[in-house]
Symmetry: C2
Subunit: 306 residues, 2 copies
C-alpha cells in the first residue's frame, strides 16, 4: 500500500510491503496549501511507476481548504475507531486505485475544542506499540501537539502555536529584524538562556519584548534566534507537561531530528525523560489503519476497544 | 515652542504657547521608519509657517535607525534628569532653529533590560501632575509600557509586545486568515470571552491555537478579532499589574480613546480602577522638559530630585 502524509507545507509518500516495512520514499514541497486546486496533478506525478492500488492519506489534505474535507472524529479514539472512519475518496484520474482519507481528531473536553489532523496517523503507530496504561506524546511543529494516551486510545489533545509564532516573529517582526538570515546554526547557551527566561512569571508578551531589548543590547549575537527558540519552547513545555495532570514514563517525541534535539534538550533541563521517534512514523500508522480497516476484529491489543 | 512626537509609525506636531497650552496641531503618517532618510524633508514641510525657534522631539526618531540616535538614560529618572539629557541636534536646513532630542529610558533592574523611547515624554506630563508617592501607568500600543512612578521619578519599566503581536497574527497568521477585513467593529462579548480565557493557566501559545480552533468552529463570527484582542490584553494585564508588586491608586492609562476603552473595560473586569489621559500628553510633557531644561532649579516638586 501507499501511505501519503500530506500536511499544509509538506508531502511525503511511502510505499510499504504487506508486512508494513517501508520499501521506497518520495517527497515534495507541494503541501496541501501550496498545491491548492492541483492536488490530483501533484499526486499523480509523484505516483509514477507505483502501481499499488491502495492509498491512505492523512493531514491537511483532508482539512478545510484541502482536497476533500473529512469531519473530525471525537476523542477518545483508538486504532479501530479511526480505521472505521477512513473516508473513501474517488477523485477523477484515480480509477483503478482505492483512496482513503484519515479523519482528524477533536478533543471537546475543554472550554475551547482542540484539534489535530495528520498527527493521529503518527500516533496510530505508537498506539500499536505502547502497552496499556497512560502515556504522553509530543509532536513539535507549526502547531505542536501534546497528547495523552490511555489504554490504546488518544484521550486528550493540547496544541501550542509555537512553530507558527516562531516563523511570524522571525519573518515579520521587529524582533526578527535584529536577527541574521534564515540559515543560522544552533546556539546552545542562547537556547538555554531563553529556556530559563521562560520560567519567569512575567509572561510571554513581556519576554518577547525582552528578545528585542536583548538584541538591541547586542546580547547573544547570532544566537538570538536560538534564544527566541528556547523561550518559546519553554513556554510550550510548561503548558504541555501540565495540561492533563502528571503522567508516568517518558514523553514520546515524534518529529524531525533537528526539532527533537531541541525539545529533548529543553525537557532534559526540566528533568523529564524522553523517547524519540522519527517522523516517518506516519507511514507505519497509515499502514496500521489500513490493515485494521480490512480486519477490525484481528487485534487483541487494548486499542481494539477504541 | 514646538513639540514633536515622532514614533515608528506616527508623527504629531504641536505648537504650544509660553504657558504650555496647545495652540495648533499637525500630523502625518510619516513615522520615523516610513520616512527613513527623508526626516529633514518631512519635518520641514510640516513646519511651514511655524516660526518658533525651539523644537523638542521624542520617540523612535531618536532611536537606532531613526534620524539621530540618543543614548538611553537609566531609571529611576525624573523631569530634571531627563531635561538635563536633552541632546542638542543641528541638522542642515534647520539653521535659526534649536532642536533637542529626548533620550529614551532604560530599566536595568531585571535579568533583561527594559526600554522606552517616546513614552517618557508622555509620562513627563504625569510626573508634573502627580503627588509624591507610588503610581502606576500603562501606555498601550505596539509595545505596551507599564511603568511605576515613585516620588516623581520613573522607577521601573515593563513592556509587553501586545500590539505588534496582534498585528502579526491579524495580517500574517492562520488565525488571521479566519478573520474579516481590517475594519471590524468591537464585539464586547467576544472580547470578554477572550479576556476570561486568558486567566486559564494553559498558556498563551495554547490559547492562540484556541483562537484558530474557535474560528474553525464558527464561534464569535466577525467578533473573532475582538476575542483575540481580549485574550492578548488579558495576558498583558496580568503581567503588567504584577511586575513591580502591588500599587495603590488607579492605573493611569495614556493613549487613544479606542485603545483606552478596551483597556479600561479589561481592567474593570479585574476590579482595577483607572484614570484616562489623552495621547497628546506628549505635547505637555515635551513642554515641561523644555521649560526644565531652561530653568532646572525652579521646580519645588519632588521630581526636582530626579
Amino acid at each position: 500500500m501507499i501511505a501519503v502524509d500530506w500536511g499544509g507545507t509538506h508531502l511525503r509518500l511511502y510505499r510499504l510491503d504487506a508486512a508494513g516495512a517501508i520499501v521506497e520514499r518520495r517527497r515534495s514541497d507541494q503541501g496541501a496549501h501550496a498545491s491548492h486546486g492541483r492536488h490530483a496533478e501533484v499526486l499523480s506525478a509523484l505516483l509514477a511507476g507505483w502501481d499499488d492500488p491502495d492509498l491512505v492519506l492523512c493531514g491537511m489534505i483532508g482539512g478545510r481548504g484541502g482536497w476533500q474535507e473529512v469531519p473530525y472524529l471525537d476523542c477518545p479514539a483508538g486504532l479501530d475507531a479511526i480505521a472505521a472512519h477512513l473516508q473513501r475518496f474517488a477523485p477523477p484520474g484515480f480509477e483503478g486505485r482505492r483512496l482513503w482519507l484519515v479523519p482528524g481528531l477533536r478533543d471537546g473536553s475543554g472550554a475551547v475544542p482542540d484539534l489535530m489532523r495528520g498527527e493521529e496517523s503518527q500516533l496510530a503507530a505508537l498506539l500499536e506499540r505502547l502497552p496499556p496504561g497512560r502515556h504522553r506524546a509530543c509532536l513539535p511543529g507549526t502547531h505542536s501537539k501534546w497528547v495523552t494516551i490511555r489504554d490504546g486510545r488518544i484521550d486528550r489533545i493540547h496544541t501550542a502555536m509555537t512553530g507558527e509564532l516562531y516563523g511570524l516573529l522571525r519573518r515579520h517582526s521587529l524582533v526578527g529584524a535584529l536577527m541574521p538570515g534564515d540559515d543560522e546554526g544552533f546556539d546552545g547557551a542562547a537556547f538555554d538562556a531563553g529556556l530559563a527566561r521562560s520560567a519567569e512569571a512575567s509572561g510571554l508578551l513581556h519576554h518577547l519584548f525582552g528578545v528585542r531589548a536583548a538584541g538591541l543590547a547586542g546580547r547573544y549575537g547570532d544566537g538570538l534566534p536560538s534564544y527566541l527558540s528556547g523561550l518559546l519552547l519553554g513556554h510550550e513545555l510548561r503548558g504541555g507537561l501540565a495540561f492533563d495532570g502528571a503522567c508516568p514514563g517518558p514523553v514520546h517525541l515524534v518529529g524531525s531530528e533537528r526539532l527533537l534535539a531541541a525539545y529533548a534538550r529543553a525537557l532534559a533541563a526540566l528533568g523529564v525523560q524522553v523517547q524519540r521517534h522519527p517522523e516517518d512514523l506516519a507511514a507505519h500508522g497509515l499502514h496500521a489503519l489500513w490493515t485494521r480497516r480490512a480486519n477490525p476484529a484481528r487485534g487483541a491489543s487494548p486499542a481494539a476497544a477504541g
